[in-house]
């Protein structure tokens, strides 16, 4: 039993990483139907930018973190929206999704050629200690990731329901035409979600990289799992992303433990396919309406 609990706990810890990457993914989907296949690279790059700032400018880490985050939000929040999403969105979901694949290649290859093909260690803001939860060692870093994942959801929820800007943002996401008539600056609201997405990605990057190391190829795994987590959670629900991420993490951990390590990816995928076939709108997602 304690063994099972141990797998469950490490599953939740890993799952919260996927969840953190998936939250921004669903947020951007909600407001502008953007499937960002570069989401994994969005989580990979900020840490690389920080290390690059340290290397090139010789600034201390906290300053480099600020520079890296600012540069990332500017280029991959505002710039991404302006240069890629805006011109492509009117032409439907798929061309834009494909464009983000190209963007992913550019980011990945750019990080490799511009910085390093090697994994790099990344300083942790937290102590490298572990605490024992029901006999399982869990690192403080993981606990902080779980805390941050939940806190971001809570903060987003609060922002959307309790603040004026947040309500405007939600209205812009749910029905842009009506929102526009009501005088809500829809464009600005959509831009806001891209900025929030970039900021969340940077946050995830700074939390994950001390554990997983900073490497140009990290986005592949994280992006795939974030995509899976978002779908399982229902795609149009930010809360769903959290649930989806943690479920995927738990399935993955239990599969490695009790089924087969060489087929570990197969187990969560097969289970999730079953869920989707039985409940096609996702676990807590709304049914999407179909236009004729």
């Amino acid at each position: 039993m304690s063994e099972f609990l141990a797998y469950l706990i490490v599953g939740i810890a890993t799952g919260s990483i996927y969840a953190l990457a998936a939250i921004g993914f669903t947020l951007v989907w909600q407001t502008s139907q953007t499937i960002n296949f570069a989401q994994g690279e969005f989580v990979m790059l900020p840490a690389i930018l920080v290390l690059l700032a340290v290397k090139l400018l010789g600034v201390p880490i906290p300053v480099a973190v600020l520079i890296g985050a600012a540069a990332f939000v500017l280029i991959f929040g505002v710039g991404f929206k302006r240069a890629i999403v805006d011109p492509m969105l009117p032409h439907g979901v798929l061309p834009l999704a494909i464009a983000t694949m190209s963007l992913a290649i550019i980011m990945k290859e750019g990080a490799k050629d511009g910085f390093s093909a090697e994994a790099q260690s990344f300083p942790s803001p937290f102590a490298a200690d572990t605490v024992s939860i029901l006999g399982t060692a869990v690192s403080v870093q993981f606990i902080m990731i779980i805390v941050v994942a939940f806190a971001s959801i809570a903060a987003l929820q609060w922002f959307v329901t309790r603040t004026r800007t947040g309500r405007q943002m939600q209205a812009a996401a749910q029905n842009p035409n009506v929102a526009r008539i009501l005088g809500i600056p829809v464009e600005r609201m959509v831009m806001l979600t891209f900025i929030i997405n970039a900021a969340l990605a940077a946050l995830a990057s700074f939390l994950i990289s001390p554990i997983y190391l900073a490497k140009f190829s990290n986005g592949e795994t994280i992006g795939l799992f974030a995509f899976i987590a978002a779908i399982v959670g229902g795609f149009n629900q930010v809360r769903g992303a959290l649930l989806g991420g943690i479920l995927v993490g738990i399935f993955d951990s239990l599969a490695a433990a009790y089924v087969s390590t060489s087929y570990r990816l197969a187990v969560p995928l097969a289970l999730l396919v079953l869920i989707i076939l039985l409940k096609p709108e996702g676990l807590i997602g709304r049914k999407e309406e179909r236009h004729v």
Binding site: I98, I106, F227, A266, E288, H291
Partner: protein, 336 residues
Amino acid sequence: MTAETDTAPAALAVRRPGGRIDAALVTILAGALILWFAPVGMGRYGTYVLTLWLVMAIAVMGLNLTLGVAGLKSLAQAAFMGIGAYATGLLTAKMGLSWYPAFAISAVATFAVGLVVGFPALRVKAHYLAFVTLAFTSLVWLFLRNEQWLTGGTFGLPNIPRPTLLGTRLDDALSFHRFVVVVTAALTLMIWWLMRSPWGRAFLALRENPVRAASLGVDVRAYTLLAFAIGSAYGGMAGALYAPLVEFIDPSPFAISASFFLLLMVVAGGSGYLFGPFIGALLGVVLPEWLRFTGGLYLIIFAAIVLLLLIVCPKGVLGLAEQALGAVVRRFRRTS
């Protein structure tokens, strides 16, 4: 959610019967003739890249049918290619079968698997279908890698023989290239014929407006499934050519990233157009090879070109070409 319809532009088959049908036919035959002679003086490398282009174009053609016609966002095409490649590789290299029956078995097997996997397509839509097919591709890839007793696992399957024609094995680059040209032309003609047939017209009605098609008596389920299965079989046939072309296969070219890349080729070439897959595969296969002269940054340059191309023409190269042609025709009519 309007994604099903907005990704499907016009003109896989031809709206106006008559003149343009012949244009498509003439293009196929002339293209085959040009490609027959193209590699002369090109060297083995150039010939190989041309052949690889055609093989990938067949796989993209299949996905074009699934996506551009049936509107299904499938991430399974690389898996079907893998099934076809491994079936052919195992049957010819390990069991000593001739390539021709192996090719036929690969096509039939992927058609059948396509029916089974496509079935969920009737239950789930849009990104859920993407997820189900993504899971399928991952499972196939894991199987290919893990079941070493059958597939050779990560070490791959070496020494896959080239097909034999009239008693001679097509070992040299040029004769195998010509063989692939003929197969590709035949498979393109089949799609061309399919889109002109009553089936094709049902496909088109389905793409333009599934709900209206259903009310007009088109069996949406059956036709969607059929389009998916035919598309899958094209993936399998591409795989059956890929294996003897490279003479070696391992699981890596059939991973999920390859499925994404095939999707990229469909969209960049022009989803729904008969010749879109050739343009798409040209971009996906030949462009990176050609860009090698730029040195270490060639993949970044490649991705930037594709990105810019998509921003300029989100409907793909042929979508842009059609728009430009339409504008010219309109201006011509106005002035005359």
